[in-house]
């Protein structure tokens, strides 16, 4: 995603993500592009944490996509890992313009069923946003690092982290 598209995309995602956090009661959430560009976040306080989670989630999504193709499972809807205290939910948000990835971390305050339920609503909202109706140009290799940094700086300064 190009740096020039980022401000309106980040602004458009802010409210839907806030609604998702409030309704689903997840602790931490991150919305990134398929390349790992950070577009929205809640719950993180340090940029390096966001960077790490974003890049790992993008890699996990790419690996899961490849695995789905190899096993004829086609497109996958979500990945879930249940830990003792916390659970991880990673899912693609498909829009006409671009595919995004949602990463959510939650605890016993909520459940996988609730996260899935409100994730489906978030996906419908985001895929209906005017900002995602046309194919968005992807960052070039040269501009990728600069755009990645720009997205990260913007979401960390625009969104004051708050507890759900």
């Amino acid at each position: 995603m190009r740096q020039s598209d980022l401000p309106r995309i980040i602004a458009a995602l802010k409210l839907p993500l806030e609604d998702f956090v409030r309704e689903s009661r997840v602790r931490i959430v991150l919305l990134i592009s398929g390349a790992g560009q950070v577009l929205a976040q809640h719950g993180f306080t340090r940029s390096y944490e966001v960077m790490n989670v974003a890049s790992l989630a993008a890699a996990a999504t790419a690996a899961a996509g490849a695995l789905a193709q190899m096993t004829d499972a086609r497109r996958w809807t979500h990945m879930h890992q249940a830990g003792k205290e916390q659970q991880l939910f990673i899912a693609p948000v498909r829009t006409p313009g671009v595919d995004l990835i949602l990463v959510a971390i939650f605890d016993r305050e909520t459940s996988l069923g609730i996260v899935q339920l409100f994730f489906d609503r978030l996906g419908r909202t985001v895929s209906g946003l005017p900002e995602f109706q046309q194919r968005l140009e992807q960052a070039t290799q040269q501009s990728f690092e600069r755009d990645l940094e720009a997205g990260l700086q913007r979401v960390l300064t625009d969104n004051t982290p708050s507890e759900g």
Binding site: T110, S111, L112, G113, I114, Q116
Partner: protein, 115 residues
């Protein structure tokens, strides 16, 4: 176990006025087995009913009333009854006209059988 679950859901959905019955995983809020009439979003009902039940149960425990065995929601159009079977919940969606006593009894029996 799966026969037991099927039988419990079957019995419940045969009660007059019952629009659907589900066995739901308590922690995850995901349906294990469901028999629902068309138009009911089973996943949504399962997630929300289990979430509400867990909170109600926690409130009852904090108030030193012990665990909740059955929770009943009454709305203009009908009832949602949730019976506690430990790791799973029995969730019944019933119309206003349903014989509530019978629905509750069957939900309780199903929960006892699944414990």
């Amino acid at each position: 176990m799966s026969d037991l679950i099927s039988e419990a859901v079957n019995r419940l959905s045969r009660v007059h006025g019952v629009r659907g019955a589900m066995i739901v995983e308590t922690e995850a809020g995901l349906p294990i087995l469901a028999e629902l009439t068309e138009g009911i979003d089973g996943s949504a009902v399962a997630a929300l009913a289990s979430s509400l039940f867990r909170r109600t149960d926690q409130a009852a425990i904090n108030a030193e009333f012990g665990a909740v065995s059955i929770m009943q929601l009454e709305a203009d159009g009908g009832h949602v009854i949730v019976s506690n079977a430990g790791d799973v919940l029995v969730v019944v969606i019933a119309e206003k006209i349903a014989q509530l006593g019978l629905v509750r009894l069957e939900a309780h029996r199903a929960a006892e059988a699944l414990r």
